[in-house]
Every structure is written in structure tokens, then in C-alpha cells.
Amino acid sequence: MKKPRCTTRNILQESQPRLRLLELRTEIPPRIYLAVGIAFIGAFIAAWTFLTAFELVSPIFLPAPTEVFKELWRQVGEGILWQDVSLSVYRITVGWLMATLFALPIGILMGNFRLFEGMFEPFIDLVRYMPAVAFVPLTILWAGVGDTQKFIILFIGTFFQEVLMIMDNVKTVPRELIQVSYTFGLNRWEVLFHVILKSALPGIWDTFRITIGWAWTYLVVAELVAASGGLGYRIMRAQRFLDTDAIILGILVIGVLGLLTDTLFKVTYRRLFAWMDNRN
């Protein structure tokens, strides 16, 4: 009984292409997808303007968007913003690359060889719950007050999670795929490099995207000590001086930069793994 009904429905749908926005897991036109996203941000800013324009909240808690914009203008004019952004982007990039440089090979080893999984996982599970902020005084003793100390904090914040995620990415490669490859006469190393890694790479790329996002969230912790520039430092200083407009500006700038890095990884993902779409 079920089959004919389904078919009728499909036919109906195709014959009258009415816009169905709330169909489960169905693609909607890209225009609408983009428009609702922009509309929501617009509504958010409108609500913010409304709250501050009628002074429903005190300016100490929430400055008006215009105040934040003025602060942006001032920081751009004095060159502070550019300085902060380049410093922070530099710290994030180096810190995250350091973490990734180690996480990638170790994660791949752990995902493929039980020997390495058994060797590293207990230790990593132990360390990854340690709060990065508690390491701040120690990192000063180890590395001083320069940029190395910031890299170490970012490393601690991202490496241990990243390793485990890469291990999981590798493990999701279907066993059948590996067995078929053996059947075709590939040897162990060929299977590892041509089958497992290639198949796991899209997942790993996604892990990169997520972990660099974490690096951004650790920025304030990294710039807690002995930084005299950077977005995290600027937020912290603004907190001490109770400059709410500068705090909000800093948060927004970090948000925008985070969004940009995210987009960068998504775009490269589509470029690098175009074959994924063909396969499905």
C-alpha cells in the first residue's frame, strides 16, 4: 500500500514547484538561505539599537552600536586595530600549526595502529582535561614573557583534542574499503597512504577547521600575561578599565576573524574534495 502513495506524492511535488521551506532535510534556494542569515543578524543589531536608544539598559552594561563603531573608528585611525589583528593572527597561526604538526602524524599513527593508540591515549586523555589557564604561570617559568609562551598556551589548548579527533577521522574509514584494497593486492603501506589517508582527509580537514576555531577561543588566555598587544590583550585591558565598548568591539572582531577562517577552510574543502560530491 505504501509505495503507490509515495509515488503520487513525488509526482505532485514535481508538478507544482511550490516553495517548501520546512521540508525535512531538503535543499532550499541559496538566495533564501543567505537572506535568512543576514536577516537574523539584522534583527539582532536592531534589537541592540532599540535597547540602547531608549536607554532600557545602562550604557555601562551595553553601549550603543554607534559607540562601538566610534571605538572601531578610533582604533582603526590610531592603527591599534591593525596591529592587534596582525599580532593575534600571527600567534594563532603559529600556535595552531605547532599543534597540528604534532597532532597529524600522532593522530594517524593512533588511528591505524593499536600499539600507538595504547601508548598515547591514556596520557592524552589525562592531559586534555587540564585547564589551559592553569598552565599560564608555568609557561612563564618555562618560556618567559615572549611570544613562545603564547604559542605554548595555544598548543596546550588545541593539541590534545586535535590528536583524538584526527585518530577518530582515520578510524571512520570503512573496514570493507581496506579489505577490498588488500584483495586488489595492495600492500600495507599502499593501503595506508592511498586508501586510508585519502579517504580520511576530508574529515581531517574538517578537524583543522574546528580546532583552529578553538585556538581563537584560547586567545584571551594566551594573551593574559605579558602581552602588550593583540585582540585578547585589548579585551582584557578594556575589562580592567571598564570600557564596555572596547570589550564588545574586541569580541566582535574576534568573531569576524573566526568566521573568516572558518569560511576559508570550508571553501578550500570544496575545492580539495570535489570528488566527494561525484561519489555520492
Binding site: V136, P137, I140, V225, A226, Q239, F241, L242
Partner: protein, 330 residues
């Protein structure tokens, strides 16, 4: 299609949920108090100068006045400020310059009590090769921006015709500054007790280069209370200050026990704080009646001037309006 009873049930549920969401968020404390009790939430930080409040709490000095006092612990200035500004507390122990800053930012608060002044308990520490403030020129100095350390450093530099641009600022929390100096990562540090004692015992060659005693009151603490609370509960405010007086009396009569209580609440051992206590001067009510409307007002002016210098204040507010001495006596 839902049957009618189920539908009406769902509607009731929905309305109930909406009502629950609309009712004011559960704010703890005030509602729990019995009618005759007045709840006072005081924001505090682990600083010796706020010690008398812990003595009062452990010796149960509040209840006979019908006060239910909660001491809410913070470790950062910025968090105390936020909690006070958002009306989560009636009062707070603040450094004088922070009180002035909050007042000029538009917070409706009054200084009702001068609690303590730091003498040797705030200091610039340096190694043996630095003998004077002049020697700091071009050196790396660790200190907390916007805090008492910032004030002391800038004051010291100003007294020697220098400015912050003559040194290399290495901003960090005061709790890390001493340790960073010991590890030799910076050449000087500004911090306060108990970190000074910690640094001096571990770093063999370190000395106090400059202390807050050079300008008594520059580094001092006050009790601020929200104006709305003062207007609604003037009696409770008076009682609160009486408790402070009693706690100071206890401190002076039983220094050993009092110091042990304070040390425990600051999170240190009493023996580690011996010199720290020597560096702090407390003010009881009689001393407040002399200071708060007299000499201290001039000191506040100086504090405001240095605060403006470091960019904490854009303009100096009317300080006489900020101080209210009405609660010092009956």
C-alpha cells in the same frame, strides 16, 4: 489531528511555561531572609585590608544587628565591578581609585568608610642592580594595568620626572608579577602582599625599591554602598559600620587570632603574612570621622590625578559628592 483533551492540555502546558519564563529570574538571598533581617551582599577579594569582615563573620558580629551579610569572593577587580554595576550586590570593598572610576562611569554609589591604607604592602620590587626609580629606565617591569600596581608605578615615575614610556611595560595579573620577577624573566615587578613576601623569600637579591608608604593613602581601600540601599536601609548601613569598628577592636586586642582568621581567608599561612600585616594600616570609626571628611579627600584628589594620568579616568568627578560620612555616627 490531536484530540481535544490533549490539545487543551498542551495549551495549558504552553501557557504555564510562558508564565514561568516571564516571572523574574530567581535571584538568591534576599527572598530567603526573615522579615527583620537585612541582607547585605559585599563583594570582596583576597586582600588583607578587607580582613575585618572575615573576623566579623567568624565571630558572628552581624546577627545582633539583624544583618545577614554574605561576603562574595572575587579574584579580579573587573568581576567585582561588573557584579556591583549589575545590582547583584549592595556593597563592595574596592580600592579607592576603582571606586572613583565606577562613580565617574555613572554608578550610583557612595564611599561610606575608609577601610585601610597600604604602606609597605604595595611595592615595586627589583634586583640589586636597580637602586633607584631612575635606574628603571628602559627596563622590563611586570605589573597589572588599571590596578593599584599601575597607580603606584606611575606615581613613582611621575615623582622622578619620568613616565611609563620610559620603561618597558609587561602587563600581567599582580599574582603572576612576583613569580615572573623571581624567574628572571623581567627586571622589576610591581605587586602587593602576600605576593611581595613570597617573592622576597624566594628571590634572594630582591628588594623593595619603592613602596606605597611614600604617599600614604594612594593605595587605599574603601567600602562603597549603593545609594539605593543607603536610602532604603540607613540603619543597616550604620550597623554595618559598627560591626567594622568592633572587628577592628578585636584585631587590635587579639592580633594573633585575628591574623590567623585573615590569613586563612586570604589563602595563606599566618607566618607568611607577618610582614604583610605590618604594611597595612586599618582605620576604625573614630579615625574615619577625622579622615574621611578631611585629609583623605585631598588624598583622593591625588589618586584621581594619577588615575587620569594612566588613562583610567577621562575627567575627575566631584569627589566630595562621592563621600558620605553620615553613617559613621548615629
Amino acid at each position: 489531528m490531536l484530540t481535544k483533551p490533549i490539545r487543551s492540555f498542551l495549551i495549558v502546558l504552553l501557557v504555564a511555561a510562558m508564565l514561568a519564563a516571564c516571572s523574574p529570574a530567581a535571584v538568591p538571598a534576599p527572598a530567603e531572609a526573615t522579615p527583620e533581617e537585612v541582607v547585605v551582599r559585599i563583594g570582596t577579594q583576597p586582600w588583607i585590608g578587607y580582613g575585618p569582615w572575615w573576623i566579623a563573620q567568624e565571630k558572628d558580629m552581624f546577627s545582633k544587628y539583624g544583618l545577614k551579610v554574605e561576603l562574595i569572593d572575587f579574584v579580579q577587580d573587573s568581576d567585582v565591578n561588573a557584579a556591583l554595576a549589575s545590582n547583584q550586590m549592595e556593597a563592595a570593598n574596592l580600592a579607592t581609585h576603582t571606586a572613583i572610576k565606577l562613580y565617574s562611569a555613572g554608578l550610583d554609589i557612595r564611599i561610606v568608610l575608609l577601610e585601610d591604607a597600604s604602606y609597605e604592602a604595595d611595592a615595586i620590587l627589583a634586583g640589586a642592580d636597580i637602586q633607584s626609580i631612575e635606574d628603571l629606565r628602559g627596563r622590563q617591569i611586570a605589573f597589572e594595568e588599571g590596578a593599584t600596581s599601575d597607580l603606584l608605578l606611575n606615581y613613582a615615575l611621575m615623582q622622578n620626572d619620568m613616565s611609563i614610556d620610559d620603561v618597558i611595560a609587561v602587563p600581567m595579573p599582580a599574582s603572576d608579577a612576583g613569580m615572573t620577577l623571581i624567574s628572571g624573566r623581567v627586571e622589576a615587578a610591581v605587586t602587593y602582599e602576600p605576593y611581595i613576601t613570597e617573592a622576597l623569600t624566594q628571590g634572594a637579591n630582591l628588594t623593595r625599591l619603592y613602596t606605597a608608604a611614600e604617599k600614604p593613602g594612594l593605595i587605599s581601600d574603601v567600602l562603597v554602598v549603593r545609594t539605593s540601599f543607603l536610602e532604603a536601609q540607613p540603619k543597616a548601613a550604620r550597623a554595618l559600620l559598627k560591626v567594622w569598628d568592633e572587628a577592628i577592636a578585636f584585631y587590635r586586642a587579639n592580633p594573633e587570632e585575628a591574623k590567623a582568621i585573615i590569613a586563612r581567608n586570604v589563602g595563606s599561612k599566618p607566618e607568611e603574612l607577618v610582614t604583610a600585616f605590618d604594611g597595612v594600616v586599618f582605620y576604625d570609626l573614630a579615625e574615619n570621622r577625622q579622615q574621611l571628611s578631611g585629609e583623605f579627600l585631598n588624598t583622593m584628589q591625588e589618586v584621581a590625578r594619577v588615575s587620569q594620568e594612566i588613562g583610567l579616568l577621562t575627567a575627575i568627578p566631584d569627589l566630595t559628592a562621592l563621600v558620605d560620612t553620615a553613617y559613621l555616627s548615629d
